[in-house]
Symmetry: C3
Subunit: 392 residues, 3 copies
C-alpha cells in the first residue's frame, strides 16, 4: 500500500470559520453533520419537536459513516476512546488551551498546508484577515457570485449600472482583494441547464426588467444564467479558475438540475473553452459525468470535495471512479469543510487513506507503475491545485 | 468477516402469495425470473413464438446471476446439486409433503421472521388471513393506492364522493383492517415529478372532470399527483410510513421519471416533512440519489429490496453505496419477493452475506468498530423496520 | 483467478483503419487518445495555442489511466520499458518491417479473431476490401445511417424518393454489400428521446418539408426519429441487429439525452419488440440503465465497448455492474477501437483481465460455479456476438 501520510495537502474547496471555543455534544453534532435536518425544518413541517423528536434528529446525524469515522480519527489523534463525549473532552481542552496551536497540530498531522476557501458561506462574510490570523495555514479566498447578485438586486439599479457593478466588484476582488478564483452555486438556485446563448447582455437587461415588473416567466433564471456566463468571461480575462457547484448539496439543492451533464452544452461553447472550470464535488453521485467531461473538455477539472468526507467510505469509490476518465492531472483534492477545523482534518486523513488504496490497486492491476502512482498522489493532493491556482 | 446467519430478518418489502403446489422447470423460471419477457410480449411484437423463440425466452431468464444464485442457495438447503431439475425435484417433494412446514424450515434457516407485504399485487387481492394461514411468519399488510384509484374511476362518482371514498377506504384499511402502511407505484404510471402544489383538492376536481370529458391534457397525471399528496397526508394523520416505488421495476416502469431525485421537491415541501417515506428499492440503479435524500431529509428511508436479490451480486454494492450517505438507522432490508417463497429465502441469504461483507470492509477500513458493525447489522436486517412499522 | 488468455475474442464494436505507417509520439497520442481536446478546439475558443498550451493538450491526453495502460501492454508485448518513446521505436520498426504481420502477432497474442466494424467512421468511408486486405482477422461491416441521411439531404429529393432511397440503400447494404447490421449515432445529434409514434412516414414527409422551407420547429429531430424507427423495421425485416450509440462519446455527444433510459419507451413499443438491439457502450456511465433494459426487454443487448478500454480500470467495474442485471447471454465484448490497431489490442488484454477478475469474484461469492464462469467468459468474449451476428 502506498503511504501518503507525509504528503502535503491543498484543500481546494472549503469554507472559512472562526474559533467557536468549546462545543457540547449536540453543538458538535449539529455543526459537523452534513445533513439530518433541523428542529426548524420539522417545525415548519408542523411537527411538534418533543424530546423524542429531538433525540430522533440527533440520532440521524450520528448514524452516518462519516460521523463515526470523524470520531475515530479524532480519537486516534488524541489517543482516547472513540466515543463522542471522550473525544469532545479532549478537543475542548485543546481549544481552550490555544485554538491556533491545536489547529496547527491537527493540520500538521494530516499534512494540510492550504485551504482554498469560498468566503461566500457563511454569511455575513467573514473577514479574510481575521480568518488568516487564527488559521496556521495558507488561506486562499474564492469569490462567490450569488451574494453579490442578492446585493445588487436589493439596490434597485438600472441594468447598465447593475451590470457594471457586477463586473467591477468581481474584477476588484480578483485584482485588489486577493481572491484567486470565482465560484457559483447556481445549482442551488435555477439549475445547471444554462444555455450558452444567455451570454448576450440583452438577456440580462430583459430579465432584470421582468423581475422589476414582477413578470415571472423564468426571468430570475435568465438573469442568473446571464451572470454566470459573464463570470466565466471574467475568469478568462483575469486568468483564474471558475468553480461551479455540481451534484449533492444541502436539502435545498436543485436535485434534478444539479447533474454536471447539464453544463456540457455551456462549457463546450467556443466562448467559454478557454476558461478553467472546476466541477465542484465532481458532481457526486453523478461523478461519472464530471469525470467524462474532464476527459473530453481540455480545461474542465474534477474537485472531489464533499463526497470526501461526507459520503464516508465513498472516498475510495469516488477517487477510483473519477480516475476512470478524468486525467490524473485534472483531479484535485478538497473537503468542503466548514464551521469547525475537524472536518478538514478527518477529510484529509480519509482522502489520503482512500487515495493510497486506489493507487495501490491501480499498481496491482497493472494500470500504473509505482513511480507513476507516487506522482499521481502528489498531483491530486496538492500539485494540480497549486498549478491551477498559481499558488507558488 | 461478520457472521449474521443467526440474526432475525424483517423483509420490509414483498408481495403475498399462496401455495401453488409443485411447479415444473418452466413454471419455476417464469414465476421467479424478474425480467426476460414473455411469450405474449413477443407475440404482441409480431414475433411467431416458435420452439426456438420459446427456448430463447427461457434462456434469457436462466442466464441471470440472480437465478444462478437462487439455484445454489436452494441446492445448499436441500444438500443437492445446483441444477434446476434436481433442485426442483427436492423442492416439489417438500411442497407436496407439507407446504407450510417446508416454508418454516426455509425461512428459519434464513432467519426470516416477518414479511411486510404489499397486498396490491397480485390482483385480485389475496385474502390476508388466507396468506397468514399458510405462511409460518409474521405478515404485515401494506395498502397500495393504485387499485383503489382504478376502482373509484370505474364507479363514475362525482369528485366530492370520489375524494371521500378515497380517504375513507385508506383510513379504514389503516384503522380497522390491520394495514400498517400505504404504498404507491406512481412511478409505473405518470412518474415521480410530482409538484407539491398538486395538494389542493381542486386539482383533483379539475382532473377528474377532464378525465370524464375526455380532455386529456395530463388530467390523469394531475389526478394521480393529487391523490399521492393526499396519501402522504393520511400517512401523517394515522402515523404510518408511506412506501413509494423508485427505480427499476418491470418493463412498464416509467424509466425516465422513476429516479428518486424527482421526489425531492415534493418530500421537502413543508406539508409532507412529517411523513416517514420509504424510497422503495432505494431507487436502484439510482440508489445514490435515494441515499442522499435519506441523509438530508430527516424522515426519508432507503428500502434496499429488489436490487437484492434480482440484481444478483449487486447486493454488496447496493448496501455499500447506500451506506455512503444514508444513516445506518435509515436503511431497511427487503426483497420484493412474490409468487413463490424461494425468492424471499434466497434474498435473505444473499442480503446477509452481502451485509456481512460490507460491514467487515467498513471495520477493516476504520469506518466502524466491530460493535458498531454488529449493531448496524441488527438495525438494517430488522431493528429499523420494527421501529418504523411499530411492530412490537 | 480464471485464465482467459487463450480464449478467442470478437470485437463487436470498432471502426476500420488502414496502415498509417510509423507515427511519432505526438501523432500516436493524438490518434489513440479518447478525449483531451485539440489545437483547433482551443483556437475556436480564442486561445492562442502557444508551446505551453500545446504541451498542456498533450499532457491531458497522456495522463489518463487508459493511455498508461496501453503503454504497459505494448511494452510487455515488445519486451521493452513502458515509456512512450521506447514503445514507439519498437512499434514503428515492426510496422515498417511488415504492417500486417505485426498486426497478426499483436492480435494473436490477444486472441482477437474478428472485428465487427462500423464503416460510418472515419469518413469518407474506407473500402471494405482494402481494410480486409491489410487486417489479418475476420472483418464484419456494419452500416451507419447518419452519413446516408447527410447524402440524401444534400440531394434535395422529394419525400417519396428520399424515403425509397433510404430503404433501398440499407436493404442493398444488407443484401448485397456484405453488411451484417445497422447502426445509429442519433445520440450525437438529436438525442435518444424518440417517440415510437415517429414511425409514421407522414412524420418524415412533414419534417423534410419543414427542413426545406427552413421552418425549424424540431423538424430535423422529427426526420431523424422517423428514420431511426424505419431502420429498426428494416433490421427486423432483414434479421440483423441494430446498434444504437448510448452514453459517452466525443465532446459533441448530446450528454443529457444519451442515457439509455430514453430509449425504453421506443424499444418496448410492440412494433420494435422483435428487433435485436445493442445498446452500444452499454451507455457508460449510465450502464445500470442499459443492464436493466437488457434484463426486462428480451431482445436488448449490452455492448461493453468504449468504457473498455477508454475508461481504463473501469473495465472491471463495468463488466461487474452490467452483469448485475443483464443476462450473461446478452453481454458482448467490444472496444470502439479506431485509427490504429493498438487500441483493439490493449482493449482485448484489459477486457480479458477484467472479465477474469469479475468471474473469479462471482465464483468466490457463490454466484456461479467455475464451469458456469468459464462458459460465461466464452459467451461474453465471442459466443454471444457470433450468435447475434450469425457469424458461423
Amino acid at each position: 500500500m502506498l503511504d501518503l501520510t507525509q504528503l502535503p495537502v491543498v484543500d481546494v474547496h472549503c469554507h472559512p470559520f472562526l474559533n467557536r471555543g468549546p462545543v457540547d455534544a449536540e453543538q458538535f453534532t449539529d455543526l459537523t453533520a452534513f445533513g439530518g435536518g433541523s428542529r426548524q425544518y420539522l417545525e415548519e413541517g408542523g411537527v411538534a419537536v418533543t424530546d423524542a423528536v429531538h433525540a430522533e434528529l440527533q440520532r440521524v446525524k450520528r448514524y452516518t459513516l462519516y460521523f463515526r469515522r470523524m470520531l475515530r480519527d479524532l480519537a486516534a489523534f488524541f489517543g482516547c476512546a472513540p466515543d463522542l463525549d471522550t473525544v469532545l473532552a479532549h478537543r475542548n481542552r485543546a481549544v481552550e488551551e490555544d485554538y491556533t496551536s491545536y489547529v496547527r497540530r491537527l493540520y500538521a498531522e494530516a499534512g494540510l498546508t492550504t485551504l482554498v476557501a469560498d468566503f461566500g458561506f457563511p454569511l455575513p462574510m467573514l473577514d479574510i484577515e481575521a480568518v488568516r490570523a487564527e488559521l496556521p495555514v495558507e488561506v486562499v479566498p474564492i469569490f462567490r457570485i450569488e451574494p453579490l447578485i442578492v446585493d445588487l438586486l436589493a439596490m434597485d439599479l438600472p441594468w447598465a449600472e447593475f451590470r457594471q457593478r457586477y463586473d467591477d466588484t468581481i474584477a476588484d476582488a480578483l485584482q485588489h482583494k486577493g481572491y484567486k478564483g470565482v465560484k457559483s452555486i447556481i445549482a442551488y438556485r435555477t439549475g445547471l441547464d444554462i444555455s450558452p446563448l444567455s451570454r448576450t447582455p440583452d438577456q440580462g437587461y430583459q430579465a432584470l426588467d421582468a423581475i422589476r415588473r414582477g413578470l415571472g416567466g423564468g426571468s430570475m433564471k435568465k438573469l442568473r444564467d446571464h451572470l454566470l456566463c459573464r463570470a466565466l468571461e471574467l475568469c478568462i480575462e483575469y486568468d483564474v479558475p471558475m468553480q461551479i457547484h455540481t451534484g449533492m448539496g444541502d436539502f435545498e439543492v436543485n436535485l434534478v438540475y444539479c447533474r454536471p451533464a447539464y453544463l456540457m452544452e455551456l462549457l463546450r461553447f467556443p466562448a467559454y473553452r478557454a476558461c478553467r472550470v472546476l466541477l465542484v464535488h465532481t458532481g457526486y453521485p453523478y461523478h461519472g459525468e464530471a469525470a467524462y467531461m474532464a476527459n473530453v473538455l481540455p480545461r474542465v477539472y474534477c474537485d472531489v470535495s464533499e463526497g470526501i468526507p461526507f459520503a464516508g467510505h465513498a472516498a475510495r469509490r469516488i477517487l477510483s471512479e473519477v480516475l476512470e476518465m478524468a486525467p490524473i492531472s485534472k483531479v484535485v483534492y478538497g473537503s468542503d469543510g466548514y464551521a469547525l477545523p475537524e472536518i478538514n482534518y478527518t477529510s484529509a486523513k480519509l482522502g489520503k487513506q482512500a487515495l493510497g488504496q486506489v493507487l495501490s490497486d491501480l499498481v496491482t492491476d497493472n494500470m500504473l507503475s509505482e513511480a507513476e502512482a507516487q506522482e499521481a498522489a502528489g498531483l491530486i493532493l496538492s500539485g494540480n491545485a497549486r498549478e491551477l491556482y498559481q499558488l507558488d
